[in-house]
Subunit: 397 residues, 4 copies
């Protein structure tokens, strides 16, 4: 009778680390991590997942867990899921049918990482670790650390992707090594290279574990396989088309977010949570060539995003705010300035700069590249839905 | 009885260049360009404007006018409008009440600028000049050059801004000069410096004209005063809060767009048009300090944007697509790759690459900074509303 | 050069009554009213129209014109428009491409008709004539008679339809005569029967005029040909499929509304205005049988309706509020009670009952049949978008 | 640790009828049904509920359970919930924070009731019992009985209300008795009067049970206390303001719907389901008089309704389709005709009339009172979102 529960193909016990789960997941990308779940096109099934840090963060007011987080441990993923019939050159169609929290774990966290351990988009302004806890009240999240806002859920997996081929993995490792080599001692690092410490590789053991742990790519960046895209609009009802690089596609998922702002600017960056996801899969044979979807996934957002009609929008242009230096069409800097402008503004309504920063990380703000050709300034905008506040935050005469 | 027409405070004759209008506008930023229109807080009035090139582009199938456009002439603006009571430190509140085409000029153009004369976001892929003409059918635009799409209007001024103070103008010129000095012979240029050629400065004449023409900033980039932000969401009903830098604020407006995609990627980049705008103004005394709106304008979008529910979304990450080089959180490159992925895809549906490029320039596509902290890859997304096509463009099994 | 103006196929002079226009329109339905405009499938053209009363209402504060309005004069329509190739059994496809006010006439009116002359939905509560004037400020309308609200435009023709066949006209007249016969002296009347007084029949003159004037149906009700449907969602970009009953279809249009609430409850009921509409037409041969569209038109709303996200919703059930009598699934009464509940509520925010009544007539309120099977009570709801008010009108603790 | 589960204040066992639950609910309205749950303003809690028929309908292809359903058993409700501090004259504020199915019961049903046992809106056309089963796939429901559609969830309680006072209950019984007396033998009945058969009255037993069972109102109609409003927009995140008639308010809830069309036209009418709801409550002291909310509840819809942009809309006017009789502003008939027009149309796309009827019952269609003053015809519209179909259902040339 219990149809849905019998379809839970990957379970987690929140009291245990990922490598001690009955069926362990993984926290690296490698084609040789064995699949632990098998499904057929058309199957509907449920996957449970831990939060991205593997449970390192507690629901309390002490940010020391954020400061001391073991980032070698991230992101713990559920999978790989082997899809029958999927082969390199196909498109894997993944429908994200629904998502939610696990019973008894209806809360999430947002953190500002310290400069020495991860940093964030505005690390130069916010170098110290900080944490906010968000309690779920149905579709809303509220926080004792950021009062006066109620965030409607735009739940999504921050990380979902397929396994790379060996060739693709080599390419990732090569190009990221070259980047790090430009400034190997930079804090924060330019990229996280393969690192066997804290690696979790599913059922792999022994020499095979050691080999793969040395080669496997870290999960931090989004790449050709999808991965840690942190796209807030991959919410309920969305459909993703993944290029397939290995037999069975080997889909993995994790890093569930109750909500997130575009950019995920605090890095620990959304309302991070454990939970479950309901998925169905299909395969478009030969779809990569047929549709030219070869470099990155393509997706359709779902119909259940929270509806807003009013926004307050902050602009930023690509002039360095500290030096006054004129940069050339630098959207990164333009978006930073839009964020800083918003943080400046929100402080007029009683928020600390840190609260405002975390708020931009967790609220469903829209971050847009509005103009990218008007030399020399890129123009980026940050749109905050005004309905999340319990007061009117618009300027008044 | 003719209430509205008596409120047209700036008129244009489309058969004459801007400097030969009865009341000429301007195409440079400078505090000393005299105001030609005076209004009071609360006033509702109409401003007519020419297209941004001052009428250089014709409704025909020959792109040579795009290739040979005089870019020293851009952007011709209507104004400056002096607002009584506005002083430095205030916020100027501008309501964009309505906009539309001028009778008999219900068409617009999109152009790919040649590398030698402006270029665009994808100039390395599209170095030759090209043009598409868009005819307006009420709220829709259709093109004989890009068949199979019907674009609903998201009309907005690409350029709206207030005059800089002398001090601010000096800062602009200094920082842009420093940038150009890094690669003075680059094609396209890194920035357009002050240039008296083709300058139009309102009613200024003689020595004063010469002085101002040498100092005045070009209108190409968005800056602290707003300016050429090319924000597609500044459409009907939106409200902008401008920092005020000079007495009277000296608002100017131009570069009307029937519609535009985020990024305005072809540079001549929206559906460019002449037309009119209806505006009301107000002043928030001391608003800059009160709200911390000092670096850039803030705005609220209006309620009349076209409603879409289904999108096809392309992702891009910050790896150079030609060299494979890994870049560090480079949103510019990530957005370029998202655009290239979309262009690749649209060619499967019968479009040439050039048509797809122009389509992304003119359709109301959403360009988002989805992830900007997942080192080393920025992740940008480009969302195309599927309803603009006359067929289903989603992947099918 | 003046492309659009040359496509104005029907012009009006607002200073003259409809029968003295250069090309007169009509205010009755009859297959023998001659077409005055001819178009082909694919044509795009513009039609001007007077307000539905033929200019009887003035922009002033005196409601005597509402009280004394000649309702035999309504609705003055522009047309008929003959569409080449349209024949009985076809579907006429009409795209409403754009609409707007005529220059110098940027205002509209709402009226409560007196019981003795028309009445309205709540005539028992509001038996006296009253008027509110609405000035257009771009996409918004504001009124000195109903302060504190700003209504975004949802412009639409209250009346658009095709000519009936002689057989269909006979059926209308027969059934409406039978209804009136049930209570011939009722005030207001149960239906308006053919009445030659104040009839305008295009170019018809003499005996033919007299014959048609006696037979022609009044324009007040919506019927199989579309007609006075007063559907607020027939706004910019919508597409209507009309059954065709006579050769050439003979499309007519009028009764332009700047905005209206569902139900058009004050009868003179929207923000009534003169203006223009841009239309394109097409024909689906044999479409009536092919799609089973035979009794009434079918339509697709356009993409440009104002966006709201927050509503306050009032419920009503089918119990007579004066007698306490339980009615059986009576949606009319249920909607009346929802309206009365809203009017009661709005008075708590400083509006008079009359202002609240007119506000429900002109604002884009949603009137829904929520439950129609839960014997014995129909449940109707009235949803008011809260963003039209300049203050927060929600209940507070 | 299991925060949420400890907040389940009312549990159901789906294998047992409501009167055999550990804590039984009720299926009648009466002030003397004892509260079984107590909460304080500000509390967040979860309530489980059975489907409205108390589990009489099975997930199979045999409609005999629909035909033979015991309608004396409906609606089984969870509650009453006593809210501390709520007194007559107050407003009870109820936030519907989230809803969902119970594990293992992720399906629902729609039924056409037979004329002899309930009937429905179109009983004259569909007098025989029929059933469709809808399986939930995350936010979507699909049916083997109505192929080709996928319905996104607009989950809501069809029935939520507070207890009537004794005086109000008397009024209900008196007015409904008067209605039934007009045609006591009608099939279906005009109203369901108090009936002790199959009554469930919470913990009441013995003589008190017998007294209350004889007096208690049936739950079928919506009334002043809210009740069976079947408002599809009372979905996730909505807030209801109930008038309070008895001490403690005594809130009850049931009749969960996965989705429903406006009107709930098949009577068994939505996708009927068991499930849970998460609620928070508050009280506005003296709110009934302060806001004039005395006759019916008022509500604000939530932000999580599925987003659609394209609709096909069917119109209907108040002329009886069988006799041709002209009715006077009869919105009931006008909506019936709109529904019949839609059913006629959908048959062109391969649906049986019965499938189309059930589809209109379960899909999130909008039923609107578009015009209610244009004598003698009411005009109602039925808008179907086209995105629920797996093909394009618009008319084509």
């Amino acid at each position: 009778m219990n149809v849905r529960l019998s379809n839970v193909l990957f379970r987690v016990d929140l009291t245990k680390p990922m490598d001690q789960q009955e069926v362990p997941g993984h926290n690296r990308w490698h084609p040789d991590i064995p699949a632990v779940v098998h499904v057929k096109p058309g199957d509907v099934f449920r996957i449970e997942m831990k939060d991205w840090t593997d449970g390192q963060i507690q629901n309390n007011d002490d940010p020391s867990d954020i400061r001391d987080v073991d980032l070698c441990r991230v992101h713990v993923l559920s999978g790989p899921i082997y899809v029958d019939g999927a082969e390199p050159g196909d498109l894997l169609v993944v429908d994200l049918l629904d998502m939610g929290p696990l019973p008894g774990a209806e809360w999430g966290f947002n953190g500002i990482f310290a400069r020495e351990n991860g940093g964030g988009f505005l690390v130069d302004y916010f170098p110290e670790a900080l944490k906010s806890i968000w309690e779920f009240q149905g579709i809303y999240a509220v926080s004792r650390h950021v009062p006066g806002v109620r965030i409607p859920s735009l739940i999504h997996p921050g990380l979902i992707g397929v396994a790379p081929s060996a060739e693709l993995l080599d390419r990732w490792n090569a190009r990221e090594r070259q980047l790090v080599a430009k400034d190997p001692n930079r804090v924060p690092v330019l990229a996280n290279l393969p690192d066997p410490r804290s690696a979790v590789l599913g059922t792999l053991r022994g020499a095979e574990f050691d080999r793969v742990a040395k080669e496997a790519a870290r999960t931090v960046p989004p790449r050709e396989n999808g991965g840690n895209c942190d796209i807030k609009n991959l919410s309920k009802g969305s459909r993703i088309y993944f290029p397939v690089f290995v037999k069975g596609a080997k889909l993995s998922v994790g890093d569930l977010h109750f909500c997130q702002g575009d950019g995920e600017i605090t890095f620990c960056g959304a309302i991070e949570m454990s939970g479950w996801i309901e998925i169905s899969v299909d395969v478009i044979k030969g779809g990569m060539a047929k549709y030219g979807i070869v470099h990155n996934p393509v997706f359709e957002p779902g119909p259940m995003e929270p509806r807003f009609s009013e926004y307050l929008v902050f602009e930023g242009v690509s002039v360095d705010e500290r030096t006054g230096e004129q940069l050339y069409l630098d959207a990164h800097v333009a978006y930073r300035r839009a964020c800083l402008n918003a943080i400046e503004y929100l402080q007029r309504f009683g928020y600390t700069a840190e609260q405002a920063y975390m708020l931009l990380g967790v609220a469903p703000v829209e971050g847009r590249i509005s103009g990218i050709v008007d030399v020399p300034n890129a123009c980026c905008t940050l749109a905050i839905p005004t309905a999340i506040f319990d007061r009117d935050i618009r300027p008044k005469g």
